[in-house]
């Protein structure tokens, strides 16, 4: 909000500090000065007024009061003396009725007769312009000027256009309309408060005036309004109509109802100065519920404890007095009604802190009982996961938590929807991490050479609707593209990752049909697997489906994984036990076997392990071949079988016998053909 330095100076006899110095003082003790602009011989301050201080500091008077508390200036008396036309009485010109007293706690009015509407003098125009308001005519400008000076929004009506000389503050009727001063027509309803005459609404209360009673060049007699409206009501109406004005902005923060009187008298006098006329005797003043100053007792010990500062009672009393608070020796404080923000002890402590100056509070480390920080297991596993993936050559990405409407609609119906989506591109909450990672891939394709092998991952939150409730899950997902051997590379990475997190029982199972259809659309089912730990599914690995790739414009095959991270953490373990290394020699036998294409290597391994028993210490695949020289639909797989005992040296004969037993077991499968035996 904009404030004029010269205007502020006009509140005082003695001089303010220089603009630069004043800006520094205000920044450290009141509000941040975001900028100072020199206009003519004036300096315009852009102050960041906090919303709690709207009632007093959305005005020059409020900032002037801050200056009094912070510098040596003294405020001039604020009361106004106005000359009223003794022969007249306002009752003869206007009758005001307030129907909804809760919506309008105070309504103050004055009448001036015989004004001359014209341009405002230069100094008024300049100040309005400097503070961001357009000059219109002397009457309207005067109302705006006083609003900027005191903070009270004001409105002037053409008295002769008020039908029946009646002002009625009431709720609008449904479908009642008003042509407002912004050249727009607003359709009203019962939730909206209006200022009406006997026939129609003249203004949307506290927000905008209407055209029918607007001040024009021909206007001679005017009715001035200085009222107080319910902040909630103004806020709701302003939102409903999409209409935010200087008045509504002030009212929705709450204004001091004791301010209307001073404001209307200042306004009447200023109009009298600028446009002549005679001020009719008396004010209309409907003040249904008087606002009285609050009283709060300050607790000195609590003050010192909270600020961490030794401060004398004398100093505190001085601070309160500088702020215009009345205070007695028991530190009972009477809060002026313009300080709507002060409602409890802590608020008073804040006043002491900021006026005294936080910079004068010395840093002191807290004296506390020793309490070691607790380890957060989830974060530890999370960071370890990231480290392992980084070591495996993955880039970590942070993507938006949103996906586009287009892709969301294609995916499924359990998406979490926003009441106010940001854009078509950022429309739903992401149900998985894969979509946005894929988007990265399509983007990368454009920026990188095709041959480059790229690995990316993300650990983040995804959102889904499950039986009418929202489920938020932490997921880990990654993908490899540009690598022909991607699946096995990625499977190796996952093995390494899971082992690195302390898991041993890792198993890759066929993709199972689940009631949740959302996964099926993502994966190429023949080239994907479920990742299982201790028999429980924790995620998926495999090639992404061609439909989803083409939907996102990705032209290369992409191998991906996605793991439910919360499930994963459940299996992570720091526990480990040393397994004795056998002192006895091991022996290796190789076997090569011809298999039908769709027989899984795991089945062969299983046979070997069962037939070989505990003396088979390890089985390694060292060759897989398919193609030339083999019957179509067959593949050849070769294994090293390592035999070893924990407690003795195995004899050659024993090993050969065991090996023959294994071969026999393998040959029991009709389609399996053991090709050759090699003794190493």
């Amino acid at each position: 909000m904009l404030f004029s330095y010269n205007w502020l100076q006009s509140f005082f006899q003695n001089k303010l500090p220089t603009p630069k110095k004043l800006a520094e003082i205000l920044t450290l003790h009141s509000f941040e000065v975001e900028g100072i602009k020199k206009i003519g011989n004036d300096f315009i301050f852009d102050l960041d007024i906090t919303p709690n201080r709207a009632a007093d500091c959305f005005s020059h008077l409020g900032i002037a009061r801050e200056c009094v508390a912070l510098t040596s200036v003294k405020l001039k008396a604020q009361n106004v003396r106005i000359e009223e036309d003794k022969k007249t009485n306002i009752k003869d010109f206007i009758q005001v009725t307030v129907k909804n007293k809760n919506n309008c706690p105070r309504y103050t009015g004055r009448v001036i007769r015989g004004v001359k509407v014209k341009e405002s003098p230069k100094y008024i125009q300049e100040r309005l312009l400097s503070c961001g308001l357009e000059p219109i005519n002397n009457i309207v400008d005067a109302a705006n000027y006083i609003m900027l000076e005191i903070g009270q929004p004001l409105h002037a009506f053409d008295l002769d256009k008020i039908d029946g000389s009646k002002i009625i503050v009431r709720r609008a009727k449904n479908n009642e309309k008003i042509d407002a001063l912004d050249d727009k027509t607003y359709r009203l309803d019962e939730s909206i408060l209006v200022v009406a005459d006997s026939k129609r609404p003249l203004a949307i209360a506290g927000i905008k005036g209407g055209k029918s009673s607007a001040i024009s060049k021909e206007t001679k007699n005017i009715f001035l309004e200085s009222a107080n409206f319910n902040p909630l009501l103004i806020r709701k109406t302003s939102k409903k109509l999409g209409l935010k004005t200087d008045a509504s902005f002030r009212f929705e923060h709450g204004m001091d109802s004791n301010m209307t009187e001073l404001a209307i008298d200042r306004l009447a006098r200023l109009i009298n100065e600028l446009g002549g006329g005679k001020i009719v005797k008396n004010r209309v003043d409907i003040f249904s519920k008087k606002t009285l100053p609050k009283k709060i007792k300050l607790d000195l010990i609590q003050t010192e404890k909270l600020l961490g500062l030794k401060i004398s009672k004398k100093e505190i009393i001085k601070i309160f007095k500088s702020l215009g608070f009345e205070v007695d020796s028991k530190l009972q404080v009477k809060i002026p009604t313009w300080r709507l923000d002060i409602t409890e002890k802590q608020d008073l402590i804040e006043e002491i802190g900021r006026i005294y100056g936080y910079e004068k509070i010395t840093s002191v480390f807290p004296k506390l009982v020793l309490m070691p920080a607790q380890k957060n297991e989830e974060i530890i596993w999370q960071e370890r996961t990231k480290n392992i993936l980084k070591a495996s050559g993955f880039f970590e990405l942070y993507n938006y938590s949103f996906i586009s409407k287009k892709i969301g609609d294609y995916l499924d119906s359990n998406l979490v929807e926003l009441e106010n989506p940001f854009s078509e591109q950022l429309y739903y909450l992401r149900p998985n991490l894969l979509i946005n990672l894929l988007d990265n891939v399509s983007y990368k394709e454009k920026h990188f050479q095709k041959k480059e092998k790229i690995k990316i991952f993300e650990l983040g939150t995804v959102f889904r609707k499950e039986v009418g409730e929202i489920e938020e899950k932490k997921m880990l997902a990654g993908m490899i593209f540009g690598d022909e051997d991607g699946f096995y590379v990625l499977k190796g990475v996952i093995d390494g990752l899971l082992q690195g997190l302390g898991m041993s029982d890792i198993f890759y199972d066929n993709f199972q049909a689940t009631p949740d259809n959302s996964q099926r659309i993502l994966w190429n089912l023949n080239k994907s697997a479920e990742i299982k730990i201790n028999g429980k599914e924790i995620g998926f690995i495999g090639e992404l489906s061609s439909r989803i790739l083409s939907k996102l414009g990705v032209k290369v095959p992409v191998i991906a994984f996605e793991i439910d991270f919360d499930k994963l953490v459940g299996f992570c373990s720091e526990e480990q036990e040393y397994v004795k290394i056998s002192k006895f020699p091991s022996a290796v036998r190789d076997v090569s076997i011809l298999l039908p294409f769709r027989v899984k290597v795991a089945e062969v391994l299983n046979e070997i392990n069962i037939a070989g028993g505990e003396l088979v210490q390890d089985v390694d695949i060292f060759d897989i071949y398919e193609g030339e020289g083999l019957t179509e639909g067959r593949k050849s797989v070769a294994f090293h079988i390592v035999f070893q005992s924990k407690n003795r040296t195995l004899e050659g004969g024993e090993i050969d016998e065991l090996f023959r037993k294994i071969i026999k077991a393998l040959e029991k499968n009709a389609d399996w053909e053991v090709r050759k035996e090699k003794y190493a």
């Binding site: 909630l232 806020r235 509070i361 480290n387 990368k444 009418g468």
Partner: protein, 342 residues
């Protein structure tokens, strides 16, 4: 000539050979021009056909084996021998083989650093949900409905699913974690809560619709503004690894009283004013304050018994300051040319 004797002797000798010199001698002795085996072979022509056939095969096979053994041993000895380094050369200016190590996102790295510092200062790291109820995000933090104070938090609201009781939103700050934690734990409390938050606002070089914050909370019998200054100052010094000045400016947050903004002396100019700090000499680091009594009440703690401070820092901002990144949107762009620098 006893062929068997020569064969046995040669085999014995070759088994005990220790170095390349000895090996050369043996090779000379048996296979040289005047070597014993050479001589035997040369004398074959003098033998009878029958002997020729019988012994010739044996000798030739043995010669072959011996040659093979010598070659193998030669290789072995050569490998064991130090080579002459001076004859070798590589071009050290050729580029290194592509590094296979990946990259962690800069926010991850900064988040780790920040968490680590606070842990060393005695704060436990906790997390909270990204989808929040209106109650935790606003009401319990003393930000009433239909109050202009709420305008400071432009909110993404969720369409309400049938079974959810409360109005849901994407948390606009990490502050709800304060309430969630205080509800479940009794003071004294010292926590930090990092995480993603959301604001419905136009994006530009310094604003994103999702971003990272870290919330801090210390609650005890006596915790003061002076204590907060000490803790936050120490944190900033540890993070930026240099001594910094801090100042607190009055501010307003409904959930703290008093409230302040934390300013730190500009890292570049040290407070004199430069382009980085827009000539202010100070950099805004985040908001803070003393926990509001209403917030204690929301969490079912008696404000008469407890005091505390709370603060919120922008992790994106710390990241940008640390690496001199000038556009927050880069952090969420997925641009590998950006990410591979970290």
């Amino acid at each position: 000539m006893d062929i068997q004797e020569i064969k046995n002797r040669a085999e014995r000798e070759i088994k005990s050979v220790q170095n390349i010199e000895e090996l050369k001698k043996i090779s000379q002795k048996y296979l040289g021009k005047k070597g014993e085996i050479t001589l035997v072979l040369r004398s074959l022509k003098d033998w009878s056909e029958q002997e020729k056939k019988k012994n010739g095969k044996i000798v030739n096979q043995f010669k072959k084996k011996l040659l093979n053994d010598i070659r193998e041993l030669e290789k072995k000895f050569q490998q064991e021998m130090p080579k002459d380094d001076t004859k070798e050369w590589i071009d050290i200016t050729l580029p290194g083989k592509k590094n296979l190590i990946g990259h962690l996102h800069p926010i991850t790295q900064v988040k780790r650093e920040v968490e680590d510092i606070f842990e060393r200062l005695g704060f436990s790291v906790v997390e909270g949900p990204e989808i929040e109820t209106e109650k935790y995000n606003f009401d319990a933090l003393n930000i009433p409905k239909d109050h202009p104070a709420r305008d400071a938090w432009d909110t993404f609201w969720l369409k309400k699913p049938e079974k959810e009781k409360d109005r849901l939103l994407l948390r606009t700050h990490t502050s709800p974690v304060q309430i969630r934690y205080m509800e479940k734990h009794n003071p004294p409390l010292r926590i930090v809560a990092p995480g993603r938050a959301f604001r419905y606002e136009a994006t530009d070089a310094s604003h994103e619709i999702n971003f990272y914050q870290i919330e801090g909370l210390m609650v005890d019998k006596e915790v003061s503004v002076a204590n907060f200054k000490a803790i936050i100052g120490r944190f900033l010094e540890m993070f930026f690894k240099k001594s910094v000045k801090i100042r607190l400016r009055p501010s307003y947050f409904p959930f703290t009283e008093p409230s302040f903004e934390i300013d730190m002396s500009c890292l570049v100019c040290g407070g004199k004013g430069c382009s980085v700090c827009s000539q202010r000499g100070w950099l805004e680091m985040g908001g803070a304050g003393m926990v509001h009594p209403e917030v204690f009440k929301s969490a079912k703690l008696n404000p008469k018994n407890w005091q505390g401070f709370a603060f919120g820092l922008g992790l994106d901002r710390l990241t940008m300051m640390k690496y001199k990144i000038d556009d927050v949107r880069l952090l969420y762009s997925g641009d590998l040319r950006f990410l591979k620098q970290f």
